[in-house]
Symmetry: C2
Subunit: 678 residues, 2 copies
């Protein structure tokens, strides 16, 4: 069979498998797979280095399907290429607990690099994947030992390019001159609302050239296999720049719905699908059919891929002999394990330690850890001297210094967090990223995907309350901790002092399959006598119990971060008035919820009036308290002490609030536990 004929046959096989999957599921997106099948076939068969026997091979090429709704295409490719996806898995497309969910989920399916579907995320992940490769190559590659040379290939559509996150990521990728990053744009002139003429008429390649990218165009992405191959070959030869290939395709190619948004998001329907099979010379009666020659071609591709890894493994053996320490570090880092003695790096504090903002303490802890954990790599969205994330002595990661581990993300929070996900997905890195806590909202979709996919990313979020003062309500978080706590698998940490900052970093690093958000104060806080890193690990613990030892407890404060010391001062005043008061620090609701009920009840005892204090919104604190002190509105611009005072968060005003609450509600509190199912 002539090459063109074989490529057509293989491509049409892929198109029809994807269309069959969608038809059987009676749900999904056939149009994109049918349009991008030629590019997928050429990319996998001529360029991609992969090892289906070991989907985690460190030097595999990374493939990202940023237009994740086209996942029937990706599952089809993984199946053909010998990954652990059977024909039955393809037939279970979009069924509960299948390996083939409605969008690619990296934690569900081997061979999926990153979870995509929310548009623009994949392209930004890919920039992180390329950063990771370039940085780690600079660290581990040695003359004669090109350990890490992989490419990062991305499929993306109009939707990805319309999303702002992709603009941020592309601008930074251009600035960084990221080599080995190839975006293949499915330029099909269609979005869900119809022709791109209704909303998207910019000159995409010109935009990318303005970012510093190399751009290529393929006029007929449906049938011109040679041009696709030539473009990919040229892309791979470009030095010092990322590459955009605009591939003109027809959505739903081959079907009677081709070129129309109708083929985007629903099955073709049995009649249209059968006619398409006939048009391709396939038996319209057969579904999920792979012609013999296509099957055997892809089997041989899988074998060749496995052989590539074996060759690489042999090289790594030699490398291990010549560079035993580096090789051990390589293995450790790609395993995700921390060095045995890493906890000894954590600073310890005591009541005599000077008052400092927790962002300053974070600077100390991060720097102490960075010395022993080279996998910590990251930076800030242009707030380095506010977030205090700079690593002493560390170089910037730039085009000319890929060995640098500090990233200047610019004011690009969304791309930053998504790049962090890509870096974590690459392996051997623990990304940290930073901005003001309030602006986690700019990157929240990526925080959510870190949580869903289980990426260990440390979000270092400073200026974590009205305590930021004069910048005012546009910058003061109110709902932010609630939104993060409401998100599954996010560890939200709001430490009160140095020991709790140390403890927060410890649990964040041990939260290996999810992100942590460390919320840090702008303002100085005292170092507490009763604080401990071990307490952080339990989520909440008693920092102090003040008053007559033998008397029954009158009141429990549950506070976080900067409000723990406030609660302590209020407690002292209440004790002076004859009360017995406990102050609980609760740096993490999530960790506390994981403790046995006996522990939880020992910290927040039944029948004792319990009051939460947190200088953000009170939403969600009903679970842990009878009464909530905090914000019920947006904040206000003013010096921090004035703002705290205005919102009733001074020791005097807290005492007054407590008194007034107990006047009316004491009986109710003593009759009940805080939360019924607590």
């Amino acid at each position: 069979m002539a090459a063109q004929d074989f490529d057509s046959l293989a491509t049409n096989t892929i198109r029809l498998l994807a269309a069959d999957m969608v038809q059987k599921a009676n749900s999904g997106h056939p149009g994109m797979p049918m349009g991008m099948a030629p590019a997928a076939h050429i990319l996998w068969s001529k360029f991609m280095n992969f090892s289906p026997a070991n989907p985690k091979w460190a030097n595999r090429d990374r493939f990202v399907l940023s237009n994740g709704h086209g996942c029937a295409l990706l599952y089809t490719m993984l199946h053909l290429c010998g990954y652990k996806l059977t024909m039955d898995d393809l037939k279970a497309f979009r069924q509960l607990h299948s390996k083939t969910p409605g969008h690619p989920e990296s934690h569900m399916t081997e061979g999926i690099e990153v979870t995509t579907g929310p548009l623009g995320q994949g392209v930004a992940n890919s920039v992180g994947l390329a950063v990771a490769r370039n940085h780690l190559a600079a660290h581990f590659n040695k003359p004669g030992f090109p350990l890490l040379t992989n490419k990062t290939y991305v499929f993306l559509g109009d939707g990805c390019l319309q999303e702002g996150i992709s603009a941020e990521a592309a601008s930074l990728a251009g600035h960084l001159g990221l080599e080995g990053l190839v975006w293949i744009y499915d330029d099909n002139h269609i979005t869900i609302d119809g022709d791109t003429a209704v909303s998207f008429t910019e000159d995409v390649p010109a935009r990318f050239r303005a970012y510093g990218w190399h751009t290529l165009e393929v006029k007929n992405g449906d049938e011109d296999f040679k041009s696709i191959e030539a473009a990919l070959a040229e892309a791979n030869a470009v030095a010092g720049k990322p590459v955009l290939i605009s591939l003109r395709t027809q959505i739903g190619y081959g079907s009677s719905k081709a070129g129309s948004a109708d083929s985007h998001g629903s099955p073709l329907g049995p009649a249209v699908l059968a006619a398409t099979k006939q048009r391709f010379g396939f038996d319209p009666e057969k579904s999920f059919f792979v012609p013999e020659e296509v099957g055997s071609f892809y089997s041989s591709l899988a074998a060749a891929g496995n052989a590539k890894e074996e060759k690489w493994n042999a090289m790594f053996q030699e490398y291990s002999a010549q560079y035993p320490e580096l090789a051990a570090e390589f293995r450790r880092r790609f395993s995700g394990e921390l060095p045995a003695d890493w906890k000894s790096l954590l600073p310890q504090y005591n009541a005599q330690s000077p008052a400092k903002a927790t962002r300053q303490l974070s600077h100390e802890v991060l720097n102490a850890l960075a010395v022993g954990l080279p996998e910590l790599m990251g930076g800030s969205a242009d707030l380095t001297h506010s977030n205090l994330t700079n690593l002493k002595g560390a170089k910037d990661f730039q085009a000319a210094s890929p060995e640098g581990r500090y990233i200047r993300f610019g004011v690009r929070e969304h791309a930053m967090a998504a790049m962090g996900n890509g870096m974590a997905a690459y392996g051997a890195l623990i990304p940290f990223t930073a901005t003001f806590l309030n602006f986690v909202s700019y990157c929240f979709p990526s925080v959510r995907l870190a949580a869903l996919s289980g990426h260990r990313q440390l979000f270092i979020m400073t200026h974590d309350s009205i305590g930021l003062g004069e910048d005012g309500p546009t910058h003061q978080p109110v709902e932010t901790c609630a939104m993060l706590r409401a998100t599954p698998n996010v560890l939200v940490l709001r430490p009160a002092d140095g020991n709790e900052v140390s403890g927060s970093y410890a649990v964040a690093l041990e939260h290996t399959h999810g992100p942590s958000v460390i919320c840090l104060s702008r303002q100085a806080l005292p170092s507490l006598a009763g604080s401990s890193a071990a307490g952080v690990a339990k989520g909440a613990y008693t920092v102090a119990e003040l008053g007559d030892e033998k008397a029954p407890l009158d009141l429990t404060f549950v506070a976080t971060g900067s409000e723990v010391s406030l609660a302590l001062k209020a407690a002292e005043k209440l004790v002076a008035a004859g009360k017995k008061v406990r102050v609980v620090s609760m740096p993490s609701q999530e960790l506390f919820d994981k403790q046995p009920v006996e522990y939880r009840r020992s910290v927040i005892p039944v029948g004792v009036p319990t009051i939460s204090v947190e200088a953000l919104g009170v939403f969600g604190w009903e679970k842990y308290s009878h009464y909530q002190l905090g914000l019920r509105s947006f904040g206000a611009s003013g010096p921090a002490p004035a703002v705290y005072d205005y919102f009733g968060l001074t020791p005097e005003k807290v005492v007054a609030s407590v008194a007034s609450f107990l006047d009316t509600h004491q009986a109710q509190c003593t009759a009940m536990n805080v939360a019924t199912t607590f």
Copy 2:
């Protein structure tokens, strides 16, 4: 005095006023005002049409300070131009409850068009402002009566351009060919982390030309007043395109910190400030000083501005005579009042109405309202046929059809929501914008600003739970309602059927100073016998009470949206087993919280076990229930019924959960109210 000398004097006056404000506050950003003072002076003195006597004059030019941290500049201009901002107000910069907060807040200060500070928001607002002007001009302007001809001028910095939202907004503005929109880019080569060379090296004008913008450059924005004036004049002459002027400036111009990030975010310090005054030929001993000639120049500018409005008012008088109905509509719409009989437009439903998805019902209600409310203008982020926001018979708003009221936003959620804010800020429009509920996260920073600034924007958010099914956890909201409910001044509505959809639109339109998020199902829901629009207005109400009339209540379900009918089915099963059960629909926690405590206790009675049911995350429901049914993890891909079943949300499984809960916790529930301070 020669023009150049006067312009220098005026500019230096502005520079020093701004620097004095920051110095007195001992907090703030002097660098940007000192760099952009020349552009501000030329813009206000030669181009801006404004009427300080009436900051809400409909045809005023709109000025947006997208780099809002430079607000000392804007406050200075408003003061000089005769707005109600006294020198004492300038001296109270960044103090609690002053009119001069740390970032511009449109609800705090007359003359501020939109709240800015979170970077990129202002530029996207400006696109909405320009859309509004072009649309309303097409509607109201008549030959000889150019009622709405205003320009929209924007100052923006590197940070705004790095944010993805600005890329979305600029791409769409270019596509729409928005005339009268002029962005003035403070190209000072500095961001907080230092030289833009560390993170931002793209060719900005080339990027904007790729979007379809006209671009201009001014090489010396510090002193070359003539070039600034020429560029603005050329910008105003450009037809059918938005314009970007890149203005090369020096941050902190005139001070010894000029050109350095050091001048960005903290006071110059007394010595540097005094030396700067000397360099400018000002008395270093004097602060907040306005030379006589500068003061009188700006006073005359204010008078001229007021005269412009008076002339316009005279024109409007004549317009009222010739087009009385249009004039009345103009006045009504700019007042924000709804037409007297608008509620009669709302569809009513009953138990015999067919089962429909609430997104379909929303389509009906929105279309019924749109007939009588021409101010409803908006669209979807490329999900028109999923969100069902298309207006029957409405044209698209496009360059060639500015009279169209349906906007094709493309996949640009963030710019969409920020444009909605700009449209609301312009006046005479009630914007509606739409995407999947889960993707409110992509535009949340703008939702938050709508809430802070009090913009009436209707967010129509469909596919509001795991009920979206096969698209899976990347698309299924979990934390979304919690994050919105935790945000002050957002009305979150999750209607259960047709009457509640009608009621939700009614309260959303009456929530005149804040946004509403209407959460709508993908799947069909039955029309309920007990539902009512009036119930929605109270936030929660009893939809049904089932079982022996005389028996005491055994259980209360509190459910929202699609789970109200689920709770009813579960209740029926419990009643069959001898229980008495109430089902409360709670479409809005916020509205319920505003009811008198007697009403709230009448709906959720004390001492009755109360169980919440919502097919999203359970976070925050402790306030209203003893036990929470919903999600404690991310969702899953599969057909909706299978997903509901997996998460225990079938009538049978709800009954089982209730039984098991009551087994262990009934005593506790009867001893307590749901929330102590309820």
